[in-house]
Symmetry: C2
Subunit: 184 residues, 2 copies
């Protein structure tokens, strides 16, 4: 069963992190998460980017800002959700991921510059994707691939205006609105 | 057999891409690539970040700047290397990756803002990690995991000064230089 995933980005700094956080949100969406929570600086541009991509490429992905991530996560856990924290200090993801129950909603917490110590305790699972310093974007992608059994397929993005089709050497993009225009 | 991988970042823009390109280089290293080639703006800071992390966390990873990526890639192919281009327009990575021979060096080309059309032809494989817009960092991580059979383990980072050990709720970092100091 594909679990319902919310990705929570802690400690966003508008200037320094704007592109990384956008990449994180887009990766969450592309890997099959249903919701993204931005914490730290309230950055409309990140939320707009995610809304624009969803409008163009389909699916039900939503995003919001939360000023109090610890309160949000405590509430999430109280409602029966599982909290997973991605950190290079955690348990190996290959062995830890299969232990996570997928029949309750999961919040995947991705740290920013400084992660409050309480997150390590709030999280039922602290999980490391390798123990080298690399990227929260890479860690999220690899963890979600393990959890979801691969990258989300086209069937998970209904209502897309633009749809990219695989091609060995060129670009094939179907514009479903143009299709309808043409057939009128 | 684990192939020898060079990751080639096209079209780096110093201001806009500095953190994404650093994340890309660090992800290349953490996934087991041996070399990183920066193209576009010549940005010492990115190269310094990669050198610093390698000095601290071990391994043989190297990085360089190349002003002429097409020339570099043509030469790479002439020497018997395989060129793989990651693009959301390419073939599905799950089915295409197993076709790539791993007994010759592989250059994984990751696009920047604008990818010259010639790259699609120079590349023996144009490969897509999902067909949604997301992140070159996520795409590189997922492709390399598929190619290399997972994330690189500690044995691939010999000579590390700092080594992170898995822990379910805390941070365990071994400082090998302090170890030696203590044992004196």
């Amino acid at each position: 069963m594909r679990p319902e995933i919310t990705v929570v980005r802690l400690g966003h700094r508008q200037q320094r992190d704007k592109r990384i956080t956008s990449h994180l949100g887009l990766t969450a969406r592309a890997m099959g998460a249903s919701h993204f929570v931005l914490c730290g600086d309230d950055d409309e541009k990140v939320l707009d980017t995610l809304a624009d991509v969803t409008e163009t490429f389909g699916g039900q992905f939503t995003a919001e800002y939360q000023g109090k991530p610890l309160g949000y996560l405590r509430h999430f856990a109280k409602q029966g959700g599982q909290i997973v924290h991605l950190t290079m200090y955690g348990e190996d993801f290959e062995s830890a991921t299969p232990k996570i129950p997928t029949d309750a909603p999961i919040a995947v917490v991705v740290g920013g510059a400084k992660v409050p110590g309480e997150i390590y305790k709030l999280a039922k699972y602290n999980i490391a994707v390798g123990h080298q310093p690399h990227s929260e974007v890479a860690a999220l992608a690899l963890f979600m691939s393990e959890l979801m059994g691969g990258v989300a397929g086209a069937e998970q993005f209904p209502g897309a205006r633009l749809e990219v089709k695989p091609h060995p050497s060129g670009k094939v993009v179907i514009d479903h609105e143009e299709d309808s225009d043409t057939s009128q």
